[in-house]
Point group: C3
Chain length 364, copies 3
């Protein structure tokens, strides 16, 4: 799983565009995903699929022509979804378009502006402090134009029409734990489950851009939604922290009890959290109009570790053993759900005669 993450890490992803498309394409080496393309402008629930974003290059050049901020060094340097720009700006104007983290002067923050057109650069605070010249040349060679939103889906049929949904957001650029970890664990779970000779439940894996992706899937799958009996969002499952399971809005759904049971018996530190309307795509799956039994499995919850949404969330931050533990936890939950059946007494009137079946001592 860590090797898959390393392969995907350099790609500049966003909620649409070729970076996301390429990422999903590479997952097909592991599992046979169906690719979906949803045109810009499509109404999805309360939202609209935005223009597709693509980027080739971006930089800030000083008067000597030197790239003092360079997209080629890290795709985090550009405000994700930046509109194109190419001109000379004053230091003051430049600074009003720059984001840094003063408390972590060597880290690049990750910032986005999906739904309002803007341009900007994300820089280390040390970089910011060197921007002392009067003028800079800025260029973002991006396009925001009608295109498609891309997501990938894998359905593994089960013996019943009921399904377990596994969802991972795949829209972040060079960030490792958030959420190449979830993408990698989901891909390996899919590969494993696909090889099982018997599945009581069907499994549906979604690799989607966050928020707009789950909203798009929900809008296009009204007939499928009632089949989703249980679900897990996988997000931030590679850091060294203990597992956190966030319950569905229902709070006492079978998935909630299954996850609690597995974690309680695993003998490792863990936390159970109640649902809140903040977090990842469980926000959409659990929204009141659907109220699906979908929980979220993480390690350290989002925004509770300093590396979150910065260049410090890199491949070193993610541990193979944490990925393995998250993977095993998911499988244990699925095993429990698969076996959580009730046997129906076929002879409920009076006792079955055990003796004639060799199940009772002959001499009483």
């Amino acid at each position: 799983m860590h090797k898959l993450m390393a392969e995907l890490y350099p790609i500049c992803r966003s909620i649409t565009g070729d970076g996301l498309r390429e990422t999903l394409g590479r997952l097909q080496a592991y599992v046979p995903l169906a690719m979906h393309e949803v045109p810009t402008g499509t109404k999805v629930l309360d939202w609209t699929v935005p223009n597709e974003w693509n980027i080739r290059d971006a930089y800030v050049k000083d008067s000597r022509g030197e790239r003092v901020v360079d997209f080629r060094r890290s795709n985090l340097h550009v405000l994700n979804y930046s509109a194109p720009v190419e001109r000379t700006v004053s230091r003051q104007e430049l600074l009003s378009h720059c984001f840094s983290l003063p408390e972590h002067p060597d880290w690049i923050p990750y910032r986005t502006s999906y739904y309002r057109e803007a341009w900007g650069f994300c820089v280390t605070h040390r970089q910011l402090e060197t921007l002392t010249a009067d003028e800079y040349e800025v260029r973002i060679d991006s396009t925001l134009a009608p295109g498609n939103l891309t997501y990938a889906e894998l359905v593994l049929p089960g013996e019943t029409s009921e399904e377990i949904l596994v969802s991972a957001h795949a829209c972040h650029p060079s960030l490792a734990n958030d959420n190449l970890s979830g993408v990698a664990v989901a891909a390996f779970l899919a590969r494993h489950l696909r090889q099982q000779p018997r599945r009581r439940y069907g499994y549906r894996f979604l690799f989607i851009p966050g928020t707009i992706g789950s909203i798009t899937w929900l809008a296009r799958n009204e007939a499928v939604v009632p089949r989703v009996k249980h679900g897990l969002v996988l997000a931030g499952v590679g850091d060294p922290g203990p597992v956190h399971y966030k319950r569905s809005r229902r709070g006492d759904a079978e998935i909630d009890r299954a996850a609690a049971h597995v974690l309680r018996h695993a003998g490792r530190p863990h936390e159970l959290l109640d649902f809140t309307p903040y977090g990842h795509d469980e926000r959409q799956y659990c929204s009141p109009g659907y109220n699906l039994a979908v929980g979220c499995l993480s390690r350290t919850p989002d925004a509770q570790y300093p590396e979150y949404h910065s260049s410090a969330d890199n491949l070193d931050f993610v541990r193979p053993e944490a990925l393995a533990d998250s993977y095993a936890t998911c499988l244990a939950v699925f095993d429990l759900l698969e076996g959580n059946e009730a046997y129906v007494n076929q002879s409920p009137k009076g006792e079955p005669q055990l003796g004639r079946r060799g199940l009772y001592g002959a001499v009483g």
Copy 2:
């Protein structure tokens, strides 16, 4: 409110008759009441509307022709609903028809005999002790004859067909707290609510004789009863004691929770009492066959103050500030009920897109 009470105080009311009719007529200066007349003999639930009672004069005269007990001094002196009598009686016979309060020798008790024909006088205990002559002339110039039971009703329509019932008994003669206080507070509430530009609920005010009045109204309004969503009986709301709210039989009806909430947050002493089948007209509204959500608002509960049902329950016993506090408490309960609504999510599927409504930061 106290001024209205003072105007009504001298009138000799009973459960039927011209005193009740005149009282209700005078309320029409405040609110446009509909007057109802229900003929003697009408079957109402398990009861029958009795003969109408009217009285012109009553006295006990001694041998010198002096009125030693005189209806003209206080209408409490006559046993309410007394049959007519005019003859000379021995001291012994007279005493067997007299009621007094030895423990409060200067107070006249209030006694009634609605449903069995009798005659009698209510006197102070000091008066009783002066009745030492051998014979007295007694006269009660009353009539008990077929007529009508009178009650008054005001309906203020609301935006919904559901109603809040406000009921006050108006049958007691010269007693102030019980229940000219309830009559006055109800009349002023009606006047206020009538002027409101918007009422979610309809309001139905009843000014009725106790017990037989609410029974008569219930018997004649089977189609209205299901509309009564909440209700308050107002009784004894002018004495200086703390507010007591007696719950409906349901105990957890919205009116019960609303009254508890208002009193708990009012910061003044108060008591919450469970329903009992003793008290005022809530006995009828809450009887098992109706079980309406009708509570009773009082200050000191009936029969728990010594002045209760005696001439000491007079205009001095009732305080304007207590009336005002009872009035404000009722309005606060009505305000709470009016606003106690649940908002329905019009976009329950997925999150509403806050950004395009200016409710979300542009840069994530």
Copy 3:
């Protein structure tokens, strides 16, 4: 009751046969029982009525022709339901067919082999130790042949079609507490209830062989089963231990609450036990397909006293005062159930007018 037990004690009973038939016949001196005969081979739920067993004699003779084990001394000496046998056997073979209680060397155990053909003897451990010769002559003069399963039933009609079931197993040979005690208490309860002028409930008494008897009754009475509102199995109700009430599977059935109430207020030691699928015929009545509200009344629970299923469970072990207490407890439970009714208000709208029924003071 103890006298009745003494009369029945010597008879060699089993789950079928003349001993059971004679026992039930003698009960008819107390109550008019209907006798039922169900042929061998009849399918009853998951079971089949077995061959009828009858026995005339059984012994082990030594080489001198002396009966060293003799059925005529105690019918417990023969393995109940033994197949016939008549031959000379080695000591080793004989011992493999003998049962004893080493920890109680003077007691004869009670053993059965109803559903697999076998022969055997039950002996005191002291007897066993004297079997030192090389050969013995064994004879069991029994028959296992098509016949009938016998049970007896008494139905006392009540004012309603609902019934209280009382069931006692009557299949054990010379054992007193288990369950001639239950048979005797049930017979006396039936005699008493039959004389009552009014019974709200019908009462149905069953005197049956254990397990196969209740299964047979259930299989033949599908139309009656829904009428069984409450029930008690009586088993082991004569030993000196405190009363134990074992709840029905429902756990909160009216019979469970009634028994708990009676015992709690009796002021004597007692125990309330939850249902388990071990015990007496409540196993069948409470099986999931019926789930009847049938509890079990015992004193010391079965298998929890050393005399259980041995010759020490004799007439001395059973105390008349324990029988009387069990009998009184049952009657108290039945009395409670008979009186556990709710009165329905025939005038639920408004208050009934008490005055015209003489139930209210004329002067208010």
